[in-house]
Structure formats: C-alpha cells, structure tokens
Symmetry: C2
Subunit: 318 residues, 2 copies
C-alpha cells in the first residue's frame, strides 16, 4: 500500500490512508513522515529510512511483502507526486513482479503540497497550474530550465517543489531570472513552509523579491499567473468570470452566453482568424502561437457553427 | 467551509472534510456532488445547484453565513482546483468581506482529479506535471493553445480537465494536434472516467489514438512525458534514477554522487557551457533554451564549486 498522508496532520488523512496504516504489519518511510503518524504505529514493525534511500524503501517493502507481510510505504502529500509510487513500480518491474502475482499494490492518493499550500494561502489554483521540482539531483538543468521558461511564457500558476537546500541555492535564483523574462516583477508569490504542521509559516512576496525570503527543503513556492492578486492576505487567481460577465450586475457581456464557449473560444476564434484576412505569420505574432499551427488552421475549411440546442448547454465553469 | 471531497468515495474523504460536513447547518453544491455525500446530510439544509451556477452557490453560502449558519460548500476533488474557492473569494471581496469580519473561511484541501486518476493508473506523476482545462467557456482559445504548446514542447506530464462535452468536441482534437508537433504519436495516454465511483472506467491509449476514445465531462486525460511507459497495465513516469545509477547494480555512474546534483545539474552544466567555447546561439540551439538566457549566463563569471561537506549532502530524490 503506497499511502499518501496529505500534509501530515491527522485531520487531513483520508479514511483509507488511516485504515491502510492500521492494516499494515510493516510501515516504511522517511524518518520525518514516520514521525507524523507515530501514534498510529504501535505494535508494528517500523522501518525508518533517510531521504536518499528511496529505492531501498521500495526494495524493503517488496521483501516484506514476499514474506507475506502487509506493508504500508508512506509518503507525505500524494504518494504519486515526486513520491514513492514511481520508484516502487520501477523496483517491482525490475524484480519481475506483475499485477497478476500474489503481491497486490494499492496506491492511496492524498492532497499534494500544491493543494495543501494553496488551501492555506487562498485560491491560487483556480486556473491552469503546474508543478516543477527544482532539484537537479536526478534531472539535468536544461530540462528544468526549459520547463520554467515554457510555463512562465504561457502564464501558468506554478508550484516549485524542492526549491532550495543547504547545497542547492542557485536554482531558485535561476528560476526567478527565467520567470522575469515573461512575468511582471510584481507577480504575487507565496512561500509556504511545513503546511498544516506545528512549524507552519506563510510568507507573501513578489517574483522580484522571492529570493530574499526564507526558503528551504520544507518550502513550496507558489507563483501566481498574470491575473493572480493578493487581497486581505489571500492569494486568489480569478477563474475568468470577468471575461464573460459584468461583475456588478451578473449579466453576460454582449455576444457572450452563459453555458456557451466565449466568443474568443475555439469556434469564435477560428472564425475570427479566417475572417481577419491576415496571414499566418502576422496571426502567429498577435496570438503568440506557432506559425505552422495557424497556417494549418487557415488551410482547413471553416466548419459551420453547431446548431444551438438548449439541452446540451450546461457545463462546468460556465 | 470550502470542502474538497477528493474523488467522492467516503473512503477517500479526509477526516476534516467529513467533520466539516457534520458541523454544517447548510450544505451547498452541484447536484452530483451532493449525491456523493447524501448519507451524511440528514437534518441539514441542502442546496443543490446546477453546474453553471457557481457564483450563485457562493452568493447563497455568503447569505446563509451572514444569518449565522455554518455552511459547507462542497466540491469534488480539491476545492481550490478549478473549484469553488476562487469564485467564493471573488464574491466575498465584491461584497466587502474581509478575513477580520465575523465570517470565517476555511478551505479543506482534497486529492484532485489529477492525483486520484494517477493513483488508479500507476505512477504517471513522478516527474513535473501540469493541469490544463480545455473548457473555453471562460478562457480564450489562444490562452489554452499557448499552454498546450508550451508544455508539449517542454515535456511535462499533462492532465487535461474538462476535455470534452456534448458541445465542445474539437478542443481535444486541437490539443492532440498541438502535442503531436513535439511528442511521439506513441506517447502513452490514460483516460480515466468517474475515478473511485461506481461507473469508474480506465482506458489506455496513445497520443495518436486518444481522440478515438470515449471521453466526456467526467473524464480526465493523462498524457505522459517522453519517458513515461505503460507496462502490465500500469502507466509509470520514471523519476530519473537511471540518469545517475546503474539500474542493475545500484552503483552511481562515473562522475555522479548519491545526494549530489547530477553532473548535468545546474553547476556542472554551467561549467560545461563556459568550457565549451561555443557561442550563445549555438548553445541555445543545442539545449533548446532562449539565446538571451544563455548569453546572460556566459557573461557572468563562473562561481567556484562549493566546498564539499558531507553534513549538507542529504536531499530528497537523490
């Protein structure tokens, strides 16, 4: 059982995560995670591992499981997010394990750091977001830099995992530099340390100033998108209602309909680029999209708009 | 209380989410979410809203709270991820609410669809990932397309939320087209419908074939990165141990050290580009990074490597 503990406080454990620990003969995890659930471990074999021993944890879990033991391999957050689920399957496959064997694997999801940190600072994840680990212990720097650059350009809300350690101090400086190529220095940033744990600490800052803050191995750095704002100590990314509605009256802007795509949605936008009379290069520049993509769209006949049916009109985020 | 239910099954509710519903006088949510927790609602005022009435839900919650009622506004997954937390703060701010007022707001995080779907298919989120909603009801298509293009290029694992509805059928076709500009047609894709609910359905496919699959409003589409594989019906993204270790023997490759950055990590890579004798344009092409970024790095003096201290050596994902 690969158990995601969520932030670590018992209140935020799922019923299934708690039950999995209760059912386990053996509980394996990084020392800090073991400490988070110490009071649930009475009478169990407990194997504490250091942070670098991820593959060892998976190997020990597999050995115990082969002896017929029920094993809980615990991770903070979600067991799948930079967690033990991946390394465990790599070790199992290596050993010739298949899902048809006697050893069953269950992954128990939990709220990841991006979700728990977001819940503490407001509502920063109301629009598209991504997670990037700044650790270069297993990932070449150009891969990380390419991702930072791409999501800074395309205006994602970004959570930086493993932003800094005693030895790795420059990665966050480089992340800031890549972001500043595309984002305003005033972009809101929240730094959350030890979310939902006794030493929890939340700091609001900006993209420009974030490297001056206290950031460590237990911190998650949340960088807003271009419409994220901080008000009354809360970081909020708007969902985009203002694109469609007058915020005071609640009525839709001219040309917009509740439950329907925006006039600048795919269908309306396609009609617009066809009607514009502009070439692919010019449209690519205006919309900051690849010229070959625009050219391919212009080369296709424009579909006639779908017939309007009220029955099909209801949709999330309308 | 903005409550994230997780996937919706009671086993995956957090203790705090369950307690919040128990404490509430009034529970407000989309009809489908209300149904998920129907047996926890006895004796409570229940307000069922349709999918398009997100702002109404927030307004009703605020009105009830002003009457002194404890209100639980429920969302499936995480309340912050394309959920009710954002719209609620927008409505509260609009009404002049501040955190110092008598009405307290608590956000209760939950496992989002990306996490729960990932747990069901294996371990696809072991490396950097992002979430993109394909709904253009509030977001202009060029914004969505720009994000798809950026993350396809920079090799993220991607979860597509709201991939398709009765009316919106072409967005997923366009997503595939943008991805195929950078990713192999064989890239593994998993389509998960109604995760952890009675009608759960999982389908594995490829980027090329994904548009032929059954995809709807209750589906999440998970697209792997360039090293994601499917084996024995499990979708796994490697963490990158093979970059550092010989997988059979577990010994580090020549020039690599456990607990230290890769030789192609930031410090090693910086030394390499300085030593290469190549210009910024050529290096930018090789590493697929912006030329001005490389030029800025080359213009700075190379820092001498940090002194090696065993004490500082331990780090996650080593």
């Amino acid at each position: 059982m690969l158990v995601g503990l969520g932030p670590g406080s018992h209140a935020h454990l799922s019923a299934r995560a708690r039950a999995a620990i209760a059912e386990a003969d053996t509980v394996i995890g990084y020392v800090t995670y073991i400490r988070l659930v110490a009071d649930l471990l009475e009478g169990k074999e407990v194997i504490r591992k250091s942070m670098t021993e991820e593959l060892d944890r998976a190997v020990e879990a597999f050995e115990r499981a082969r002896q017929g033991k029920r094993v809980a391999l615990i991770s903070s957050g979600d067991a799948g997010v930079y967690g033990m689920a991946g390394p465990t399957f790599e070790v199992l496959f290596q050993a010739g394990w298949t899902p048809e064997s006697d050893i069953e694997v269950e992954i128990i999801p939990g709220a990841s750091a991006i979700n728990t940190c977001a819940a503490l600072v407001g509502a920063p994840l109301t629009h598209d977001f991504c997670a990037i680990s700044l650790s270069d212990l297993l990932t070449p720097w150009p891969v990380i830099a390419r991702r930072l650059e791409a999501v800074a350009f395309s205006d994602f809300v970004v959570a930086l995992y493993n932003p800094k350690s005693g030895r790795r101090t420059r990665q966050i400086v480089e992340a800031r530099r890549l972001f500043l190529r595309h984002r305003s220095p005033d972009t809101p940033v929240a730094i959350v340390k030890s979310a939902y744990r006794p030493k929890q600490r939340i700091e609001f800052t900006t993209l420009e100033k974030m490297t001056e803050c206290d950031i460590g191995m237990l911190s998650t750095v949340l960088i807003g998108n271009s419409s994220t704002f901080i008000r009354h100590g809360l970081m909020v990314t708007p969902r985009g209602y203002a694109n469609k509605y007058d915020v005071d009256s609640g009525t839709a802007h001219e040309g917009e309909k509740p439950g329907r795509s925006l006039s600048s949605g795919l269908t309306g936008w396609l009609a617009g680029i066809h009607a514009s009379g502009l070439g692919a290069a010019e449209l690519a520049r205006i919309h900051r999209l690849p010229e070959d993509y625009i050219a391919a769209l212009l080369a296709e006949p424009l579909e006639s708009p779908e017939p309007l049916s009220e029955a099909a009109g209801e949709e999330a985020g309308a």
